[in-house]
Symmetry: C2
Subunit: 127 residues, 2 copies
């Protein structure tokens, strides 16, 4: 079985995988309604079947219908997705990413305090 990389997927396949990773355990109908520039219902079902045959997804029965979920755990997919963005757009610099995150949304004082604590924690462990 091939290694599963989001980057190897076609446009539609990738869009579907993103929905599945975001929402975790979804029906074909749910995937459809959460896709950008929504294709046909039938197209979604076909793609889900293809993704399953390639090993990216599996399904569980939920009464008469299917619930799809990723085979690769979110934890892992998350890791390589982040890695990819950091390498591509942030020259591999953690600091730049954090700067962008801080700039992005207006975090509350509590949020900032938690981040601060997170870093302090890591510093302690580093010793």
């Amino acid at each position: 079985m091939r290694k599963q990389r989001l980057a190897d997927l076609s446009r539609r396949e990738r869009q579907i995988m993103e929905v599945v990773y975001r929402d975790g355990r979804v029906t074909a109908a749910e995937v459809l309604e959460r896709m950008p520039d929504p294709p046909s219902y039938s197209a979604v079902r076909a793609l889900l079947r293809i993704l399953e045959s390639k090993g990216h997804l599996r399904h569980e029965d939920d009464g008469t219908r299917y619930l799809y979920l990723p085979t690769l755990p979110k934890q892992s997919a998350r890791k390589s997705a982040l890695q990819n963005v950091v390498d591509t757009f942030f020259e591999g610099s953690t600091e730049k990413v954090v700067a962008a995150l801080l700039d992005r949304d207006n975090l509350s004082e509590e949020d900032l305090a938690r981040l601060s604590a997170l870093i302090e924690q890591t510093r302690k462990e580093g010793r």
Copy 2:
């Protein structure tokens, strides 16, 4: 002209855009050698032309050949790429992303100090 979203591109097109964003200003040959599962040289050139016609890239003359660069500034592309990953894999949580970043690579004490300073700075501004 359409909005330029990485997510709307085909597999190969997206791979090329990632190389261009990573390396900034590249020739067709450079794009080829930095692509995963490299296609033919000719295919790369065709795709570069297509991306240019769609408005994702433009080129400058460099003697006899072309240097390609993105039309959308890296700063903007970076922002939406990060946004997308955060939403898809981190439930929109900045804190989770930072945690993953800290976990990811072994940062030196100086790196951590800088991150800490960055956050403190933001806290001050927030007041």
